[in-house]
């Protein structure tokens, strides 16, 4: 039953990836741009889902990890002029180090408390950036000298393949031995420990993986838009959007988080002609989805298949 779902999803994903890969042939430059952002958000949401859906940790501050990666990359590029790849790796490392510093003491905290610490971490990072505005550009944000490409299609392909690779790796991890153990620790840490699994070690590993992908995606986004700013990679509202995307797409599925991000960002754009009210309407739809279909979009597909 479940293996069918898996393979079906994969079969569905492959042609979707092909269709997406030839996007520049049939999509307007504008939609390529929107999807580029959506793909980066997809990576954010998948990283979040690995933590929440598998390790059972509610991270209210995904933008702490994203922001560290984004600013790490941006600062290195601006002040050391390092090549983009080096900056990205550095950003990913910053994100992991910051993630470890945050997570080590926080791992023993439960539920809302863990969530709160991650939330406060975002606030602190934000103030840190604002206070050192001479260095970081403050609220205004900083412009980076390098960008990935000015060509919309190239940027789009970068984002698409980065997301596809991240999705593949995260899905493999989530279904690997590690994912199995993470799920066990997330579901019942005591029972997992009684089976001999070091819960803290595995949770920390999950946190690092999540941090790595969040940080890389954050860095990529910086080099896509050419700017790193608090409003695009750190604000709590961005974190909220990520969480909502993951839950609406279907928690504990990794791919659901990706689908959720794409659907929500597209909906946001399609409804842009509503002007001011587009976010209101999109939020309302998401609220309805999670109340009526708590399994999310992917859960919905699952249900239909079960029904059939």
């Amino acid at each position: 039953m479940k293996t069918i779902l898996r393979s079906r999803l994969l079969w569905l994903m492959l042609p979707a990836l092909v269709i997406a890969a030839v996007g520049p042939w049939w999509l307007s430059a504008y939609y390529l741009g929107v999807l580029t952002m959506a793909y980066y958000f997809g990576v954010f949401a998948m990283s979040w889902d690995l933590l929440f859906g598998y390790a059972g940790m509610v991270n209210f501050g995904p933008t702490f990890l994203i922001g560290l990666g984004a600013y790490g990359a941006a600062l290195l590029d601006t002040y050391a002029g390092a090549p983009i790849v080096v900056c990205l790796i550095f950003g990913g490392l910053m994100s992991i180090i910051g993630g470890i510093l945050l997570a080590l003491p926080a791992l023993k905290l439960r539920g809302a408390y863990f969530g709160l610490v991650t939330l406060v971490a975002v606030l602190l990072l934000r103030y840190f950036i604002v206070i050192f505005s001479g260095f970081t550009g403050g609220e205004i944000g900083m412009m980076v000298p390098d960008i990935l490409s000015i060509d919309t299609a190239t940027n789009y392909e970068y984002a698409l393949w980065f997301m596809a690779a991240s999705a593949l790796i995260l899905v493999i991890i989530s279904r690997s031995s590690l994912g199995l153990i993470l799920e066990a620790t997330g579901q019942d840490p005591i029972a997992a420990a009684a089976l001999g699994f070091n819960v803290a070690k595995h949770r920390l590993a999950a946190f690092c993986i999540s941090a790595l992908f969040s940080g890389l995606a954050g860095g990529m986004m910086v080099f896509y838009s050419g700017t790193a700013s608090v409003g695009t990679v750190i604000d709590i509202s961005i974190g909220v959007q990520i969480i909502i995307a993951a839950v609406v797409g279907g928690r504990r599925t990794i791919l659901g988080a990706m689908i959720g991000s794409i659907v929500i960002l597209l909906a946001d754009e399609l409804l842009r002609p509503l002007g001011q009210l587009n976010i209101f309407v999109v939020s309302g739809i998401c609220l309805a989805v999670i109340i009526v279909f708590p399994g999310g979009l992917l859960g919905l597909m699952h249900r239909q298949r079960e029904g059939a």
Binding site: K2, S177, A184, A193, L195, K201
Partner: protein
């Protein structure tokens, strides 16, 4: 196999184990040893501290003092995962398998090394997992999801997971809870198998009876202390154990004047069944209580008494029917049932610990008229004079006996037509039991109240009762007058 018995030295030695939770001493100086190929039963009623001992051995709770020596290494206070590596496994009572993984994958999980780097499981795991599954009787359902399995199979998964780590010592929490007699036999055979493989087994259960056939030795606990140890038979015969479980001498004081065998009963329970997930907790229970009667439901811990009462109070979803005063209570809320006159004084007492005695009582009488409430309060303070002295004290600062009195008094403040008393004796010292007993007696004789009492302690229940039901494994197995109990049920009870 006999040979290994002789040669075996102690695998596990537990000495002077102690655990405090705040001011409460949950475990006081407990010690025992386990040899390879030996089964020890650790028994005690709810709150006796047996589970705490098990958790300390597994490292889930950290002992305040004492040693847990496994093969010469003191592992007391180690983290759980490390203890598991050292060779102790725990079969949890409540199984929480991974819901999206198959049975086979769930077993494979337990075979995985505690390593971050192995993304792909060892291919040999598949074979081993299948072998283990066959052993515990899951061979036919390997590819099914846990949610599609019956309760017993879920427990088999737990068993398989513990086995997969090849533990030297296996701790099994309530091995037979929620199982049918056939399944009990299967599980007994499995546990026997552990012994034959040379593993040391610690069975943790409410009472000797359920594990008597299986254990080599048993250790009985009560209020955190050891009260008896020896063979199952010795423990069963032990005076203190009998006192704890039955309350000592069985004596009945039915009211001969109460002849209310005719007329419609105040409450009828018809074919009541309750399931916890997949576990059958209560099956086809039928009983009735007449106006003014004092009826007891006796049974050991885990027999289903609280489940029965909670179902009557509307706290649990059930099948079957409760007819109250001629009308079924189906569809009524917990509060409606309570206001309708069925008031439960639960086993856990459920006091408002940070509120004063008086506030607790006032909440009980909140639905009464002012004058009525004052009068009721006065009469209850007469009945339980200790509560008058403690009126301003916070409930959680009271002694156990006082808390029980407060719980009863609070329930009585509602002027119930039927008072359901669940295990009022739980964890109380003998002196307090007497006081409580007297209070109940006075209550019975002065108010003519209708009571449904649930008790493990038969001796406590018998003197008050007009009629007795015996509950075992979720079934009513006996019904009759208290004076017949000794003769017909006395020996089978423990």
């Amino acid at each position: 196999m006999e040979g290994s018995h002789v040669m075996a030295k102690n695998v596990l030695e537990v000495e002077h184990l102690q655990k405090r939770f705040g001011g409460l001493v949950a475990v006081k100086d407990i010690g025992f040893t386990l040899k390879a190929g030996e089964i020890l039963g650790l028994i005690g009623p709810n709150g006796s501290g047996k589970s705490t001992v098990m958790k300390m051995v597994m490292g889930i709770e950290k002992p305040n003092a004492g040693r847990v020596v496994l093969d010469g290494t003191d592992i007391a206070g180690w983290p759980t995962a490390k203890i598991a590596h050292q060779g102790i496994g725990l079969v949890f009572q409540h199984s929480r398998p991974l819901h999206r993984q198959t049975v086979l994958e769930n077993i494979k999980l337990a075979l995985l090394p505690d390593s971050l780097l192995r993304l792909v499981a060892d291919p040999s795991h598949d074979e081993r997992a299948r072998a283990i599954a066959d052993r515990v009787g899951l061979g036919g359902v390997l590819d099914r999801l846990p949610s599609t399995l019956p309760f017993a199979d879920l427990r088999r998964i737990e068993m398989a997971k513990a086995l997969a780590r090849e533990p030297k010592v296996v701790l099994v929490d309530e091995p037979f809870a929620g199982l049918t007699p056939r399944e009990v036999a299967d599980f007994s055979a499995l546990i026997h198998g552990f012994r034959e493989e040379g593993r040391a087994v610690l069975l943790v259960d409410h009472n000797v009876k359920s594990v008597a056939a299986l254990v080599d030795r048993a250790l009985a606990m009560y209020l955190g202390e050891e009260i008896a140890s020896g063979t199952a038979e010795e423990v069963t015969r032990n005076e203190t154990v009998r006192k704890v479980y039955m309350g000592g001498e069985i004596a009945a004081h039915p009211r001969p004047d109460l002849v209310q065998t005719s007329g419609s009963p105040l409450m009828q329970v018809k074919d009541l069944s309750v399931r916890y997930g997949k576990a059958q907790a209560l099956e086809g229970v039928t009983l009735d209580v007449r106006e003014g009667e004092f009826v007891s439901v006796v049974g050991l811990n885990g027999a289903g008494k609280s489940t029965l009462f909670n179902a009557i109070s509307g706290l649990l979803p059930k099948s079957g029917e409760v007819v109250w005063d001629g009308a079924p209570t189906t569809g009524r809320s917990v509060a409606q049932i309570a206001r309708g006159g069925i008031v439960q004084c639960p086993e856990t007492r459920e006091l408002f610990g940070y509120m004063s005695v008086r506030e607790n009582l006032d909440l009980g009488g909140a639905h009464l008229e002012e004058a009525e409430r004052t009068a009721q309060l006065e009469s209850l303070l007469e009945l339980f004079p200790r509560l008058r002295d403690r009126a301003k004290q916070a409930a959680n600062t009271l002694s156990g006996g006082e808390q029980q009195m407060l719980a009863i008094a609070r329930a009585l403040m509602m002027k119930p037509r039927l008072l359901i008393l669940d295990e009022p004796t739980l964890g109380l010292a003998p002196v307090i039991l007497d006081q409580l007993s007297q209070a109940l007696h006075r209550l019975r004789d002065t108010t003519g109240i209708t009571v449904l009492l649930g008790e493990q302690n038969v001796t406590f229940a018998l003197p008050h009762s007009d009629r007795i039901y015996v509950l075992q494994h979720g079934h009513i197995v006996w019904e009759g007058k208290p004076d017949a109990f000794g003769a017909e049920m006395g020996d089978q009870y423990l």
